[in-house]
């Protein structure tokens, strides 16, 4: 009754192919964006519930945005193109450290070639984007094996990338500007003269990045390249026979995916953490991103957001609810419970609904279209 399409006629192919063809969806999205861009900053500025303290913004919304962005990147590679990757953490690291070096000035003495590569510190925005570019290049390199090796074997190759880069950023002091402790601080976040500092500002910055990238990603997956990716995922042999070049499709998937993940990594380091060490991007992060994508929905941009939200909120719930009920659990127990719940959920979703919560949501929407009738 509320969610009917009756009366909404599409009079052109463009309308038919729009992101949200149903008007109610567009309204819902408009409201969501309104809350995100206007509502949240207002509430936070005036410290109105639930933004009475900075906790919600700093500890939940900020990581949610950045990890959701990374999850979008992972989803492109794993969900849309079907290439398993256990190395996304490494690509976040590449983005972060490249942005760091570019933001603090690069100085490579190539005495044996007779010259020195010296780049002055670049503006933060440029550093972040170029960090993503470096990650994209690495992604392409590590994607080359994907032409010959598939599935599980590719997973091992991505693990190789993960462990290799873990080591690189730990042991090669050039990346940390020879910091004795191995941890680095982000340069000040100056964008076009404005300095981003407070949680609200950081939140808005990330929100802008995430919205822009989500839209661009959605454009890509709706277009011909997206179809090529899905074709490779579903049946790469048949894809070849209709003229899709597996090389091009897979490498673009790696490139775009790694670019987004790299930018997310730079944002994670610069905007959220402020100061970080390589551990922030270890295999645990890779698995976390993979879980977000599986739970949220493989092959769905929205699913990446849903999965990220779920994975971030669950530990908090596990902390909050028992405490409210008067039975506080130790952190260890909570971690163990998390493990059990995530693992079971993954198994359950893979069995019942491989397309994750996103599909459950769209099934819900379909039922909503008929509501209040049963069929």
């Amino acid at each position: 009754m509320l969610y009917r399409e009756a009366g909404q006629f599409k009079t052109s192919y463009a309308e038919d192919m729009a992101i949200f063809p149903i008007r109610q969806d567009r309204i819902a999205l408009g409201i969501l964006l309104g809350i995100a861009f206007v509502g949240v900053p207002l509430l936070a500025t005036f410290r109105i519930w639930p933004f009475a303290s900075e906790y919600l913004l700093w500890a939940i919304l900020l990581p949610f945005l950045i990890l959701a962005l990374a999850a979008v990147g992972v989803n492109i590679l794993v969900g849309y193109c079907g290439q398993i990757s256990l190395g996304s953490g490494a690509f976040m690291a590449i983005g972060a450290y490249s942005a760091y070096k570019l933001g603090t000035g690069v100085h490579i003495p190539l005495a044996w070639l007779g010259f020195v590569i010296s780049i002055p510190p670049l503006p933060v925005l440029l550093s972040i984007l170029l960090g993503g570019l470096m990650a994209a290049i690495a992604g392409i390199l590590f994607g080359v094996p994907s032409l010959r090796i598939k599935g599980l074997y590719l997973a091992v190759a991505t693990l190789a990338a993960q462990f290799f880069f873990d080591w690189v950023f730990l042991r090669v002091p050039w990346f940390t500007n020879y910091a004795p402790s191995g941890s680095v601080n982000a340069p000040p976040l100056n964008f076009f003269g404005l300095t981003v500092h407070t949680p609200i500002e950081r939140y808005l910055l990330c929100l802008i990045f995430v919205t822009v990238f989500a839209v661009l990603a959605k454009n890509l997956v709706r277009g011909n390249l997206g179809r090529q990716w899905m074709a490779i995922r579903d049946m790469d042999i048949a894809a070849e026979l209709i003229g899709i070049r597996p090389l091009y499709a897979k490498l673009t998937a790696f490139a775009v995916s790694s670019f987004i993940i790299g930018v997310a990594g730079a944002l994670w380091a610069f905007v959220y953490l402020g100061s970080w060490e390589p551990l922030a991007f270890s295999i645990e992060r890779s698995l976390q991103l993979l879980f977000m994508v599986i739970i949220g929905g493989l092959g769905s941009i929205m699913g990446s957001f849903v999965g990220a939200a779920f994975i971030l909120i669950l530990p908090i719930m596990l902390n909050l609810i028992p405490t409210q009920l008067g039975v506080p659990l130790s952190t260890e127990t909570i971690t163990h419970l998390e493990f059990i719940i995530f693992g079971s959920l993954i198994c359950y979703l893979l069995i019942k609904e491989p397309h994750g919560f996103a599909r459950l949501i769209s099934i819900g929407k379909e039922k909503l279209r008929l509501w209040p009738f049963p069929y």
């Binding site: 090796i149 074997y153 127990t333 059990i340 893979l350």
Partner: protein
Amino acid sequence: MIALGQFLEVLIGGLMSGVLYSLVALGFVLIFKASGVFNYAQGAMVLLAGLALVRSLDLLVARGYPLWAAIILGIGFAAVIMAIAAWLIERFVIGPLVNQDGLTLFMSTIGVTFVLEGAAQMIFGSDVYPLRLFPTDVWLLFESHFPGGILVNALDVWGAVIAGILVAGLAIFFQRTKTGRALRAVADDHMAAQSVGIPISWIWFVVWLVAGLVALVAATVWGTKLGVQFSITFLALKALPVLIIGGLTSVPGAIVGGLIVGAGEKIAEVFLGSQMGGGIEYWFAYVLALAVLLVRPQGLFGERIIERI
């Protein structure tokens, strides 16, 4: 100049630890050979087995049981736990996913990993538990030939012996017994095997049980070496390159692959690592596996997979 003695010591040490990797890899090969599933949870199974064993052992010894009795009962208890785990996994995860593709099954084993890790630690505790089932003395060999002698770990030798026995046993099991043949049929084609009356659920339960027992054996050796603790699960990740190099379907491949990875890692670490700031063993095995993948995708002993439309 690298002294021959030092090189031999590193080599032998590497080979030995390689054998220990093989012990974990064997569990993988078993499950893959018999069900086509790549079991990411093998490491978690080692943890579960190890925890069940060491906790029951400690409990029994504290209650006054003589060590030999405690060991037997402890191993029995751990075996029962693994059987329960195998049954649960088959019933609730692998069984329902029987006709899905390999990637889905692999991801489900990642889910199983987390459940096992969480449950094992919640039930049995998450400290480091030392295990003393094997002698851990250190022998110095050939002192007359090389200054200082060559250091060999008794535990490693035990591990090698056990691995050898396991391999022989598994090889016989697969080649000679009816169940072994049925397992190979199931691995080739689930649906076909079902249609000729092979009871798949039972077969898979057996497979996961045997893999669980192999994990138990691995846990006894690794637990003595490192103590039973959560980080044992990362051994599973080390077993991956072993499998790639040896071939996913090959029992001898798991051994050879383990030896290559173990020796290669140690040698690279000692002799190259010094040049590169150390820590090479962290990724050396993976890069090696990657190289093998590019040149010979099926590994040294594995079978070629041919795709047909």
